[in-house]
Amino acid sequence: MTTATKASIPARVREREALAEVVVVSSTAPPPGLRKVPDHPFEVRKIRDDFPILQQRVHGKPLVYFDNAATTQKPQVVIDALWRYYTADNANIHRGVHLLSQRATQDYEDSRVKVQRFINAAHSHEVIFVRGATEGINLVAQSYGRKHVQADDEIILSTMEHHSNIVPWQMLCEEKGARLRIVPINDAGEILLEEYEKLLGPRTKLVSVVHVSNALGTVNPIRQIIEMAHRHNVPVLVDGAQAVPHLRVDVRDLDCDFYVFSGHKVYGPTGIGIVYGKADLLEAMPPYQGGGDMISSVTFEKTTYNTLPHKFEAGTPHIAGGIGLGVAIDYLNGVGLDRIAAHERELLAYATNALAGIPGLRIIGTAKEKAGVISFVLDDIHPHDIGQVLDNQGVAIRAGHHCAMPVMKRLGVPATARVSLALYNTEQEIDALVGGIQKVREVFQ
């Protein structure tokens, strides 16, 4: 009880402090390297006011939204950006001479720069807009993978991958006659680095590994994983879908070769996501899809492809989504990434402590380094039933295998109940969750 309770005190003290200005979201991001550190205190109630969806009641109870690993809610500024784009600026990009097209193009490309700064990429053309992390992995598999992976080659994944970081590689392996090698994990849900080391070899063509596990919350030692792969000249793709909302990600510091994430898990719209790739790798890769915008010239005899990033963005993209993602990033920078991480760390400690105190509750995934996620099982009550009763209490969680069936199998559970946190969650909400779980036990005693 002690550590988390102590850790939670500063948050409560801060809540009582005078309210500072509402987060001001500027339409232009600060220049690279000059990310402004907000000087107002982190005020979670103020943050909650920015998210209109959180103001509602479900089943007569205040909504407690703990399914953030599935998708996060959107701040009003993001909702407004979508509305404003379709109301005032809607036009196709990269081709119109008219004003609307120029405005849309400008905002869309500004967003690319915001993403570049957000992940500290060296160039904005290393940032490719896609539909989401899933499409990002498919892009790398179909473009880089099909070019470089041949029969008997090997691709290394970890046991804790989401299906989206398994199936695209399986499809590639099937096509090429290549093999997947899987890095094992321990019972806490941590990657066994010494076993990983053994898998790396002359046949390894790529390592693709999750930064933060969506099922367990494990933060993987990604820098070390990359370093070890690079010693064998093997490039690494990092699935950052669950990392970007919780940690500051610096792709140059990590030295990853590819990094993918989804906009909707980081408070942006659905249908937009990012592939970061090192420019030299992207340059050498064939296009992923053919169509408009990705070409320089087309004749029936020959097509010349466009330069980066357009080579990988065939067809009219999700313009509003791209702009919305940029605004979401502005919002996060305005709140302060490090302060969000600190708030979530405190919440995770508070929640872990509170849940661990419930008799019959077992947390699945007890890695030393975790972020944002607590998976658990409760006696022999099925997670779906837990989720159903909690929903009735207004508490939204996820129940099931979390699209990560291999890790569920490894840890010996068919399914778990998963609580996943965001910057707007509070300790009071954790208390409501704990109360809800008591209700679950009452129903199924």
């Binding site: 099925h382 997670p383 099931g400 129903v443």
Partner: protein, 150 residues
Amino acid sequence: MSDLRELYQEVILDHNKSPRNFRKLEGANRMAEGYNPLCGDHVTVYLHLEGDVIKDISFQGTGCAIAKASASIMTWHLKGKTKGEALLLFERFHQLVTGNRRTNLDPLEMEELDVFSGVSEFPVRVKCASLAWHALHAALEEREKPVSTL
């Protein structure tokens, strides 16, 4: 809490806690698996058919309270029924949980199954309730591939 009690009726909770006929059936001459890829729930239904009559029936597997209770009540209800009766009940059960009663039900016949009428208010749980029934259907029809609720 009231609508939750509609879903989790006492009979359902009881069958969840102590499922009937929860075992592998020695001497089964029909069996089929049901699988819900959405949640990973899995059930195997075993039948011992003598001619047209279900002499014995059992199940095994993992699932939520609704899935488990539904399988349990199904086995409890179908013992001694004919294949034709079982197939008719399959249809009627499906109508019951989807809230889509097209035929006049014989109240006596459906009485024990009526505890699942609350499921129709929870669309995502329909597949839980019907998982074992789909496996039963496959076993009766001698389909070999595991049935999936998706």
